[in-house]
């Protein structure tokens, strides 16, 4: 394909827009393609405030962003950059940052906020309504609740839900009636914010799936690694400041065990050995019954 040429017919604002986008694309080492998810303006502003210092966000039309990416790829002699276009979908925006792609993903994920679910949307997870009072006075709301399958009744003068109920399972399409009810109950099952479609850094485009870090799993691995190291140090007697005490204790504990097992009296174990013999004597005494015991023992 020959190089892209801007003809005089293309609106100048588009040219400016593409140039502006190209500038953005060259401004950071890490470029992310974002889906705006129709995030409401209030939330968007909150998110912008959160990310202001660490990244630059720019929304635009997909076609213009595509053109900008292609041109930058060519200008910088970096064809792999165009792979980012493959991730494009829905309402996209671009982010330029120096942040590590994994951290970027985490940051944007954490900046998402709960939002109500719209009619016709798919439930992202099981939506459960907990039992309790809705705070609403008796009225048509009662039948609305019942219409969506909730066990509702008047309790202590207010409309209440009698037991925990799952009104929609993950993947279910939410009806208009249910959407209204959930909204009235102030239940926000959706997470809106900036959705990562793909992140480019150093010739590689990272798929969002790869960028997810399971923190619990990571923590478990860290702890397991530490414990393993601790064990190795003690078991192989490779002393470190963190394990020398345990090594000493283990050696002593072994010595104690052998001393007691062999009934070899030492100042550290005479009590335990005499105690063991006494315990054995008492155990046999129990079996011997009343008549064989003296008063002292019975005590």
């Amino acid at each position: 394909m020959s190089e892209v040429k801007f003809e005089h017919k293309i609106a100048s604002w588009k040219v400016d827009e593409v140039n502006s986008l190209k500038e953005l694309l060259k401004s950071g080492n890490v470029i992310a393609l974002i889906d705006m998810m129709e995030v409401p303006s209030v939330q968007l502003q909150e998110i912008r405030d959160t990310i202001r210092d660490s990244m630059t966000l720019k929304m635009s039309r997909n076609t213009l962003m595509k053109r900008a990416i292609e041109e930058v790829a060519e200008e910088t002699g970096n064809p792999s950059f165009t792979k980012l276009i493959d991730c494009m979908e829905k309402g996209a925006a671009l982010i330029a940052t120096e942040m590590n792609p994994f951290k970027l993903y985490k940051t944007l994920n954490e900046s998402k906020s709960p939002a109500p679910i719209k009619a016709g949307a798919t439930a992202p997870c099981d939506i459960e309504i907990k039992a309790g009072s809705t705070g609403m006075p008796p009225g048509p709301f009662l039948s609305e609740l019942k219409a969506v399958g909730l066990p509702a009744a008047i309790e202590k003068g207010k409309i209440g839900i009698k037991e925990d109920t799952i009104v929609a399972k993950e993947g279910d399409v939410v009806s208009a009636k249910l959407a209204v009810v959930l909204s009235k109950l102030d239940i926000k099952p959706m997470e809106v914010g900036l959705n990562v479609l793909g992140v480019y850094e150093d010739g590689i485009v990272y798929d969002p799936e790869i960028l997810k870090i399971d923190e619990d799993e990571f923590l478990a691995k860290l702890q397991s690694a530490y414990t393993g190291a601790f064990n190795l140090s003690v078991n192989a007697v490779i002393p470190t400041s963190a394990t020398i005490e345990t090594i000493v204790q283990k050696a002593f504990s072994n010595a104690k065990a052998v001393s007691i097992e062999g009934a070899f009296l030492t100042s550290e174990t005479s009590d335990a050995i005499l105690g063991k013999a006494t315990a054995q004597m008492l155990a046999v005494a129990k079996l011997a019954g009343e008549d064989a015991l003296d008063d002292e023992l019975k005590g």
């Binding site: 007691i260 054995q280 046999v284 129990k286 079996l287 011997a288 008549d291 064989a292």
Partner: protein, 69 residues
């Protein structure tokens, strides 16, 4: 408790726990053996698995501070 220790001693020497045996041990220790008690002891320990009783008792006392659940 001398009587029980006598029994334990005989047991560890793989000797039969008879009235005469127990008496002999006690006497050697300078104890005036009570015939009735010796009889009762021997009778009571008849058929008793001393090894088993000893094994069960071997668990060393441990100071445990049970932390609330």
């Amino acid at each position: 408790m001398e009587y029980i220790y006598a029994a334990l001693l005989l047991n560890s020497a793989d000797k039969e726990i008879t009235e005469d045996a127990v008496k002999a041990v006690l006497t050697a220790a300078g104890v005036e053996a009570d015939d009735a008690r010796v009889k009762a002891l021997v009778a009571a320990l008849e058929g008793v698995d001393i090894e088993e009783a000893i094994a069960k008792a071997a668990a060393a006392p441990v100071a445990v501070a049970a932390a609330p659940a």
